[in-house]
Amino acid sequence: MLPAFIIVAFSAIIPLMTVVNYSIQDIFGPGQAVYVGTEWFEVMLGNHRLHDALFRQFVFSGLVLLIEIPFGILIALAMPKQGWGVSACLVTLALPLVIPWNVIGTIWIIFTRPDIGLFGVGINSLDLLEVPFDHTAKPIYAWITLLAMEIWHWTPLVVLLAYAGLRAIPEAYYQAAKIDGASSWATFLYIQLPKMRGVLTIAVLLRWMDSFLIYAEPFALTGGGPGNTTTFLSIYLVKLATMQFDLGPAAAFSLIYFVIILLFSFIFYQALLNVGRGEKA
């Protein structure tokens, strides 16, 4: 017990307690700190900018989950079951997952550049848009680029998890469904989806947490702009802590951030594991 406790203490508990310590003090400089109790929490909870960033973050995470999970399941359903095609698909799909995250931001910047980017040049040559496309020209362009980048980057994870879940279903279920005269949609709804419950829970939780915490990719792509239309919670937090050096509010904000993620993870977990389950007969 003791070795595990010491490791957890160093890696999690002590840093967390440091943050809690900062959150209840007003820090002017090294060695100059005044105890202020819960004042920072009240300030942050009432902060306009925080509310906006929080709203943007929820919209972003919501869109990410709504698009990535069904899309990932669809791709997993379309993948071959055996043969060399399986390895080929798995390797190709895993490629976006192994690229460093800053590099992904840079790839998409170049991809959407109106002068040398494949997409940028392509869409501007069609001449359909009022404002020529550039990933920071309009907020909507920034959002579209950001979402496309995020989906391209992380859908493969959902695909891999969903594929593993599908392969674990015994053949007898499909055979019984055939004999029962079930359509492909009924087979999907009543056999495949319920049996993928475990892996889909993992996929949803991972994507929820990662997208809610997202930092490197949007920062590399837009830096939070144009204006602050893509300033998500983590970008705002880093700005507070490292640029304005407001450690107190930032620490209070971190703790609120942590609680929000924990709360929603718990809700997702309970919902996914219990949907469709009844009491024991």
Partner: protein
């Protein structure tokens, strides 16, 4: 439970079964050969080598054989989950080889319960009917009828996932019975996951269904006790072929193949390599007297000869008794109501089944082999 009353409703069902008005169940397997290779040739591995069989209407059949002999493959060919590499499957003289499973009038119960976890028992039983567009009132009547037969009425509103294994298997079975166009039910070792005390109960239920609903049943198993108590006729399979089909009595007393002799019976038949000369069989220098007709056939037979005798027909006397063959007593297993005695006859082990209470000689004994129960086999096949 009359089948006829349902027939008039079948005419307007959107997914009519393949044959209406004359629900078949005479299944014919014509020159079936099957390999799991896509394009099999002479060098491929064949799961089924040459099957020609007829399963009559309303019969209860068992497909008995060791693991890997091709029973499940054969069952899947009958139900349509597999298409044979060669040969035809006929239902009542109609070629259904190309027909998919949902269009054939069969239901299949698998080794482990196959249920739709998110649905209640009622919805599980109603599923096959709803897929075929049966109106809700009829679905309700039918589901309640089947639930009544299978003692599932109390569970109808419970979620299927929460039931015990035997209840789940009943629901799987119920899904097969609930369709009124089902004329044959195929079982693939359905009692494997069931507790021993509940196996008896489920076996009774299956027998009841057979008698009441007059369906053809084909039951695949590797457990001979299950096969012999359940089926009217048993087809013994070995390495992709059906070696013998017959009633339990026929299989026990007159096996056509050494494999049947060995597989049926606990313990199986004893085999001694021998040669036939005059009216005796020579086994390693020892002479065993044969019936006249059997001796005549034995002398004419070609190939490797073996003498088969079941343990329960053998008797042991003390060393000093008259008659019989001198043997050495090797081991005794006491199984309560009977004993298995292993003796050595001319260097070969023979097992004798003795009822409890009979004396077991020690060291040496005389083995009595009644000639009327001796069977001769040439190259594995019965000499007749």
């Amino acid at each position: 439970m009359k089948k006829k009353s349902w027939l008039q409703h079948l005419k307007w069902l959107p997914n009519k079964p393949a044959l209406v008005g004359d629900l078949m169940a005479r299944i014919v397997l014509d020159k079936i050969v099957h390999s799991y290779d896509r394009n099999p040739d002479e060098t491929s591995e064949y799961a089924l080598k040459w099957i020609n069989s007829i399963f009559e209407n309303e019969g209860a059949y068992a497909l008995l054989g060791p693991s890997g002999c091709g029973k499940t493959t054969l069952l899947n060919l009958i139900s349509g989950l597999l298409t044979p590499s060669k040969g035809r499957v006929l239902y009542d003289d109609m070629d259904v080889t190309a027909l998919p499973p949902e269009k054939r009038n069969i239901a299949q119960v698998f080794q482990f319960p196959v249920l739709y976890d998110t649905m209640t028992v009622y919805d599980n039983l109603a599923f096959p009917l709803r897929n075929r567009g049966v109106p809700a009132s009829q679905v309700q009547t039918r589901v309640h009828e089947i639930a009544e037969i299978l003692d599932l009425t109390a569970f109808l509103n419970k979620k299927a996932a929460g039931l015990t294994a035997d209840a789940k298997q009943k629901v799987s079975l119920g899904r097969g019975l609930v369709r009124n166009d089902v004329a044959a039910i195929l079982f693939d070792e359905p009692l494997t996951v069931i507790d021993p005390q509940l196996k008896w109960y489920l076996r009774q239920k299956i027998k009841l269904i057979h008698e009441e609903l007059k369906l053809t049943l084909i039951y695949v198993t590797h457990d001979q006790v299950e096969a012999l108590t359940f089926a009217e006729k048993v087809a013994v399979m070995h390495e992709g072929e059906i070696v013998q089909t017959g009633t339990p009595k026929e299989l026990f007393e007159n096996p056509e193949h050494t494999f049947v002799g060995y597989f049926i019976g606990s313990p199986g038949m004893n085999f001694l390599p021998c040669t036939v000369d005059g009216s005796v069989a020579h086994v390693n220098g020892t002479d065993i007297p044969l019936d006249k007709e059997l001796a005549d056939l034995g002398r004419k037979a070609r190939g490797k000869l073996e003498l088969g005798i079941r343990p329960m027909y053998l008797q042991l006397r003390s060393e000093s008794a008259k008659g019989g063959v001198l043997v050495k007593v090797q081991a005794v297993e006491d199984l309560g109501s009977y004993k298995i005695v292993t003796v050595m006859l001319a260097g070969r082990p023979i097992r004798v089944k003795l009822e409890e209470g009979l004396p077991v000689p020690s060291h040496k004994a005389r083995l009595l082999i009644p000639p009327q129960w001796i069977r001769l086999f040439a190259d594995g096949l019965r000499v007749r």
